[in-house]
């Protein structure tokens, strides 16, 4: 029957659209968890991803340095002293402590194309691996420090550090390959493209968005300089030498994917540095918890009291409708308006400045309706017979409320409180104009402070590391999910 068919189609459609909500949530959560745990950056550099396993030395880095791979040119700059902090390398805000085994200096000087005198710089510490391993206190210090780099003899097997791989293969090309043609130029290569190039699968540079030249793999840099369209994969060291000798060669830039673990325990436990650009979020998490705690302390008594009034005392009339309308309206005000209000009243008018207390007071007003509505429901559903029993024994109304009604409604009220916690945790717009932005541990009610959600916002706005944003977001999501689950557990108990 035609009607039955359209019935089935319509009902299936409804079901599918509902399932879409699950898919959306699943997509969001899984992506946030993935990005929070793993960071995937694409950077461009001169060397390809081929790791050189034949070097006569090993490089180690401390576990919290986020360094597990270095390219030739970065290593060179580190030894030179041109890169002195891991900031730009792995987003760790520490100056590099470099230790080199003396026996390697000669090789490194030739390999890195540096004068031996550059190894005698202040930033380079000379120490053999054995001496290092034997100096337990120094070793311990280097392990703990977030930016230690050790270059030692092969097979020195220093425990407790990351092994750092060195990539040093450069694709040197003839200058015609990188020339401008039709207002375009060959761009960065992906690693698959490098591989295809090396195993002769690419015949013409135009296949790689380059100029219309035949690809010619050659064996010497002289040929690279002379023959149009020539290329040669070569060790960076030799390439650098040739550049120093003014050979007419160029190199192709390659995309390099950096995949590291993002959110680490270290991030959670270390303090913020440089106003949130580097370091961890321990202080921010602490501030968030303090803010939420204070907000709840202030908002709960007022909300519960209001709920009690509405259920137990309010009579039908203008006053009661006014109160109810007030609650509904308050619940509908967007957070940015609360932020502005907080700015005007608490920060400016009451002179509390950009501080924890200003933020707390602002958010307290915001969550009033949340706690009030749930408490109202809970108080309303207390069995009237309980109340009658208490009054029958001579208790006053207020005594009955505190001794009988509230305890009976406590589960529902708690649910409301936890819901409010969830709201307060995620609040940004209301706090931006009230709570300040300092990343240190909050030291008093009047100190400027920053909370987690706001921190994520500031990272993005101020152009900080997106990975940090996602790591913090993951922490926030976990807190929210926790709050959510606790609510469910309490509600389940209530039904039982």
């Amino acid at each position: 029957m035609d009607r039955k068919k359209s019935n089935r189609i319509a009902l299936t459609l409804i079901q599918s659209l509902s399932v879409l909500t699950i898919l959306i949530l699943a997509l969001m959560l899984s992506y946030l968890i993935y990005r929070g745990l793993y960071s995937n950056k694409l950077i461009e550099r001169e060397v390809s991803d081929y790791v050189n396993y034949d070097l006569p030395f090993e490089v180690y880095s401390s576990k919290n340095s986020n360094v597990d791979e270095l390219d030739y040119f970065t290593l060179r700059k580190i030894v030179q002293g041109k890169i002195y902090s891991l900031r730009k390398v792995s987003n760790v805000n520490r100056d590099i402590k470099l230790y080199i085994d003396p026996s390697l200096i000669k090789f490194l000087s030739s390999y890195l194309n540096l004068e031996i005198s550059e190894f005698e710089d202040d930033n380079v510490n000379i120490l053999t691996a054995n001496n290092l391993i034997n100096d337990k206190s120094l070793l311990k210090e280097l392990k703990r420090y977030e930016a230690s780099i050790i270059i030692s003899e092969k097979n020195s097997n220093i425990k407790g550090f990351n092994s750092v791989e060195i990539s040093d293969m450069v694709i040197s090309v003839n200058k015609d390959v990188k020339a401008l043609y039709d207002n375009k130029r060959i761009g960065n290569l992906k690693n698959e493209e490098v591989e295809s190039l090396i195993n002769d699968s690419i015949k013409n540079w135009s296949e790689l968005n380059g100029p219309n030249l035949d690809v010619k793999k050659v064996d010497s840099l002289d040929e690279v300089a002379k023959i149009s369209g020539a290329f040669m994969p070569i060790q960076a060291s030799l390439y650098q030498k040739a550049i120093n000798a003014q050979k007419q060669i160029q190199s192709l830039q390659v995309f390099h994917e950096v995949s590291t673990q993002n959110l680490k325990l270290n991030y959670l436990l270390s303090e913020s540095e440089d106003e949130g650009k580097y370091g961890g979020i321990l202080s921010i998490i602490f501030n968030t918890l303090v803010m939420v705690f204070l907000t709840i302390i202030i908002a709960t008594p007022i909300s519960v009291a209001g709920a009690i009034y509405l259920v137990q005392y309010a009579k039908k009339g203008k006053l009661t409708s006014l109160i109810k309308t007030g609650i509904d309206l308050l619940a509908a005000v967007p957070s940015i308006i609360f932020g502005l209000f907080g700015l005007l009243i608490f920060v400016q008018l009451m002179g509390l400045g950009f501080s924890l207390i200003s933020g707390v007071l602002t958010v307290s007003i915001m969550i009033l309706p949340t706690i009030l509505r749930t408490s109202e429901e809970a108080i309303r559903s207390v069995s009237p017979s309980l109340i009658e029993a208490s009054r029958g024994l001579g208790a006053t109304k207020i005594e009955t409320i505190f001794k009988v009604v509230l305890p009976s409604a406590s589960r529902g009220i708690t649910t409301g409180i936890i819901l409010a916690i969830g709201r307060a945790l995620g609040e940004t717009a209301a706090l931006i104009f009230t709570i300040g932005s300092s990343t240190s541990f909050v030291s008093g009610l009047k100190s400027s402070s920053r909370v987690l959600a706001q921190h994520i916002y500031l990272i993005i706005i101020e152009g900080g590391s997106i990975d940090d944003a996602f790591a913090s977001a993951l922490v926030l999501i976990i807190l929210v999910l926790l709050v959510n689950s606790i609510t469910k557990i309490i509600m389940k108990k209530e039904i039982k």
Binding site: Q15, Y31, G306, S335, A473
Partner: protein
């Protein structure tokens, strides 16, 4: 003697408590009035310097120019565009889910959907913004070109954010449609779907419309999520795929450095937004009261 003073004390506490409770109950409405007063107080002086028509209808917003211009028409249009598209996207999914939850209430699937909606409602807006940057913006970029930061991206994120509002309130109104009506329809040989769209949904339409209006209010007041994906270009956005700036984005962006007339302009914007949302809620209250009076002739 002692017993009497004890009871007297109890009665005094009783009276005093009543006053305290009343005061607490009045905090909400006091706060609303205070907010209104203060925002209006900051916003109104602006109109002594700039005319209302120029403010509302001029597309030119350039507070830092030699002759500063404070026209927020582009932002008003952007806010409405974003909210409108969000609602159009959210209604099919929201209404279907509401119908699904109330008409097909059994089973694991509906439990999962319900939990999903609760979770979606609890996720902070900043995280929606982050998700928008990471997934929605590239998707829009790949489909429509440009750089992806656009009013459309903002609409998509907003649509997801307002789903819980639409679903929860619509579901309640669908549920409250008496079973007797469903039975009457089925007994005449109507299919389930015919019963739903011919009888149940029309009977619940007031609640559904309320949910949409409330969702509208939520959406137009959203700040952080739209800020992150909307592009924040202070000009008129011709197409949804252009970058744009909503009223809320304008307030939060300029607030950190504005002063003088510029600052008042922002408060005037906030005032406008606030009044509009209050109006929406009054409409909702009016609709709810109308249906309570009864559907007589």
């Amino acid at each position: 003697m002692k017993k009497n003073t004890n009871n007297k004390r109890r009665r005094v506490i009783e009276q005093g408590s009543k006053v305290v409770l009343l005061l607490c109950a009045l905090v909400s409405i006091t706060a609303v009035i205070a907010i209104t007063l203060y925002i209006v107080n900051q916003g109104v002086p602006f109109f002594s310097e700039v005319s209302f028509t120029e403010f509302m209808f001029s597309l030119d917003w350039s507070p830092s120019a030699d002759i500063p211009k404070y026209g927020i028409a582009s932002f008003i249009l952007a806010s409405f565009e974003v909210v409108l598209i969000a609602i159009i996207l959210a209604i099919p999914v929201g209404l279907s889910t509401a119908i699904f939850l109330s008409e097909f209430a059994k089973g694991k699937l509906s439990k999962i959907v319900r939990n999903t909606i609760e979770l979606l409602a609890g996720i902070p807006s900043i995280i929606y913004g982050l998700f928008g940057i990471a997934i929605v913006v590239p998707a829009v970029r790949n489909t429509f070109g440009g750089n992806g930061y656009s009013l459309l991206s903002a609409s998509i994120i907003l649509a997801i954010m307002i789903l819980p509002t639409i679903i929860n309130i619509s579901e309640v109104s669908i549920r409250t449609v008496p079973d007797a009506l469903r039975h009457a329809s089925i007994a005449m040989g109507a299919t389930k779907w015919q019963t739903i769209y011919k009888v149940v949904v029309p009977a619940a339409v007031k609640g559904i419309v309320t949910s949409i209006i409330l969702a509208l209010g939520r959406a137009i007041g959203e700040t952080t999520a739209v800020l992150l994906v909307g592009g924040n270009a202070a000009v008129f956005a011709k197409y949804p795929t252009d970058m744009g700036r909503t009223l809320t984005m304008n307030i939060i962006t300029d607030m950190s450095y504005a002063e003088g007339t510029h600052l008042s302009a922002l408060f005037a914007t906030a005032m406008l937004l606030f009044i509009f949302i209050l109006l929406l809620n009054f409409i909702v209250v009016y609709i709810s009261n109308k249906s309570k009076v009864g559907a007589g002739e």
